[in-house]
Amino acid sequence: MDLDFTEEQDMLRNSARDFLSTECDKAMVRQIEESEEGYSPEIWRKMAELGWQGLLIPEEYDGMGMGLMDLVVIFEEIGRNILPSPFLVTVALGTPPIVEAGSEEQKKEILPRVSSGEAILTLALTEPSVGYTADCVELEAEDRGDSFVLNGTKLFVEFASASDYMVVVARTKSGGDPEDGITLLLVDSKSPGIKIEPFATTGMDKQCEVVFDNVSVPKANIIGELDKGWPIVAKTLEKATVAKCAEMVGGMQAVLDMSVAYAKERVQYGRPIGSFQAIQHMLADMYLRVETSKNILYQAAWMVSEGLPAAEKVAIAKGWCNEAYKKVTEDGVEVHGAIGTARDHDMGLYYRRSKAADPTFGDTESQRELVAQQLGL
């Protein structure tokens, strides 16, 4: 057993922390949030210079060939600092299906461009029914010989607006097992017939509606096999959920640190409010939520990175982190008092993200249902 990060991972964490605090202070976070793109192309380019976008991409495609635990380190720091960007959707949603199941041509065409920061990817999975299960995939891909034609709507496609390619999860067969008959298609986001509309959300994370109106996709763009796409989606979601949890854990740590620091300096009744038991115990509970979230995240991440069956552990981690992040930010606002509710205070940046993170890749209720099934109930 070894429950520590490696020295290299510690170094990666330090460099990520330095980079983010230098390049993306909270004023910058707010500026990016308000911008039309929702991310900073300049920071994106610098991230690519550090090799971040290519972290999980094999070296032969100009990537770093590193592992999920390394990505966890980066996402913790992103969550801690906050970096509005299409990073998660590119590295944890769009890229894994190509790395895992893409053809040599697809890999050669796409992956080096992801590594270099030229290409932004996202996954078009959810629809107006907003489920993360196969039965929620209805968008039809109609077989037209050499190509498919897509008609329908994908909803909550994060950063579709900024994307160069979308990995579209489409239905190519229906009637039987919902997991059978799902096909992944690599689709150029600028294809004729695609209409992308971002809408405002709590997380200000460029969630988009993507309408497909007779969009033609060549069959060469199938990722993996026809009708057999669901296992790739499921595996991708495991990685993305781990990445999301890491981001949430980083956010929790930031909120705890801010709240402890504030409790030490804010004086009422002639003494720091951090000397009052009511505040101390709230902070102790926040600490416990952060620690437990880290531990369960690391275990889930380790299992995924080792290729072990991890569905239950990932569900446990997400279910736990959902509730922990919401409660930690809620208590963080409480410790700060009224100022914590102000738009120009940093606490709100985390508070809003905790609300947005909860339903992303499955809310607590749906994680509990997964766990119940694993218990044989």
Partner: protein, 398 residues
């Protein structure tokens, strides 16, 4: 990072599991988990039997040095042992002798004290109780008033202790007494050990809400204790209590006990119908059980994290995390108990012994005993305060 156990650790775990699987078949009729399983009339003989079996196996005090009956087992192995022991809800390990005074004597005792007291613990021949709390000194332990006055080479103890778990079964007691009346608080306290058969020691049981009797009051009425039975220095007892409190606080046994409780509940829900429907198909029940499964898995990783920090010698981080684990595990254990009786409905109120009792009435029993777990060994409030002071560096108002 690597969460895997080594093949040797896996083999050891399997050996522990096989042992407890086999030995727990000897569980006497009417035996239940918890303090009752250690100290009741049904529990005590089984507790002693298991202690002796563990001693024979050389497993009772594995972390101790060989000369005192142990095998210098590393923390991780002890964590695995605690995990398995807890899962089987097995008796046999005296939490006070093996868990507290033994390690304290090992750390700060004299050579004579080690030779005199450690072997009987390792052989399961001597059981201990703790004489710390008093009617007016609970969480504020340093305000205790039991006094010890020097008389030649001896000390004479007078005072009242309370909430002494298993004192009625114990052979020896480790107690705190005030030896410097000028010092009101922690500076004037001395750490004594004494034979419970000493003249002047009397015990009165405190009955718990479920009718069980594991807690006691101990009265010291001119009890004579020789100077050689002081641990550490005169007036230096407080620092030693801090040492005693720091041993193996991963709470892994409670986490795995909760896991056992959940597994039994899940089995019950798969097999039972209530109000005309299988419990396992009731969405509310499914989600409550799933949430417990989440909480338990998270708790176990917390315990292993504490063990890891202890193994590394990261004392401050380990202390804060251990206090967190104590709060977490005892609240979890109570949640398992409450969820159980609430799912069972009226059946959850049937006490052990009745043919209508579900799962031997253990959840009915646990629902009444688990509140005590949140208080013993430092209340949840004290634990949270320690997290705040030690883990987060928040100011402490004296």
């Amino acid at each position: 990072m690597d969460f895997r156990l080594t093949p040797e650790q896996e083999a050891l775990k399997k050996e522990f599991e096989e042992f407890f699987e086999e030995e727990m078949k000897n569980e006497p009729p009417g035996w239940v988990w918890g303090l009752e399983g250690l100290f009741s009339d049904v529990g005590w003989p089984f507790n002693v039997y298991m202690a002796k079996r563990l001693a024979e196996k050389g497993w009772l005090v594995r972390p101790w040095p060989e000369e005192y009956g142990g095998c210098n087992a590393p923390m991780i192995e002890q964590l695995i042992f605690g995990d398995v022991l807890g899962y089987y809800c097995a008796p046999g390990v005296d939490p006070l002798g093996v868990g507290m005074i033994g390690p304290t004597i090992l750390a700060v005792g004299t050579e004579e004290q080690k030779k005199e007291h450690l072997p009987p613990i390792a052989r399961a021949e001597r059981f201990w109780c703790q004489g710390w709390s008093e009617p007016d000194a609970g969480s504020d332990l340093a305000s205790l008033t039991t006094k010890a006055v020097k008389d030649g080479d001896d000390w004479i103890l007078n005072g009242q202790k309370c909430w002494n778990t298993g004192a009625h079964r114990a052979d020896w007691c480790f107690a705190l007494a005030r030896t410097n009346p000028e010092e009101r608080r922690s500076k004037g306290l001395t750490y004594f050990i004494l034979d419970m058969k000493s003249p002047g020691v009397s015990i009165v049981p405190i009955e718990s809400m479920d009718g069980s009797k594991h807690f006691n009051e101990i009265y010291f009425d001119d009890v004579r204790v020789p100077s050689r039975n002081i641990i550490g220095e005169v007036n230096g007892g407080w620092a030693i209590t801090q040492t005693t409190m720091n041993y193996e606080r991963s709470s892994v046994g409670i986490m795995s006990g909760a896991c056992r409780g959940l597994n039994e509940l899940v089995q019950y829900c798969k097999e039972s119908r209530l109000r005309g429907k299988p419990l396992s198909q009731n969405p509310h029940v499914r989600h409550r059980l799933a949430q417990l499964a989440i909480d338990i898995e998270v708790g176990r990783t917390l315990s292993y994290h504490v063990g890891w920090l202890q193994e590394k010698g990261d004392i401050m981080a380990a202390a804060a995390a251990a206090c967190g684990a104590k709060v977490y595990s005892t609240e979890l254990w109570q949640r398992v108990a409450f969820t159980g009786i609430e799912i069972m409905g009226l059946y959850g109120t049937v006490a052990k012994g009745s043919k209508w009792a579900v799962l031997k009435g253990q959840f009915e029993d646990l629902a009444q005993s688990t509140p005590g777990y949140k208080l013993g060994g430092g209340t949840s409030e004290i634990m949270r305060s320690i997290v705040a002071w030690v883990g987060l560096g928040l100011p402490r108002i004296k």
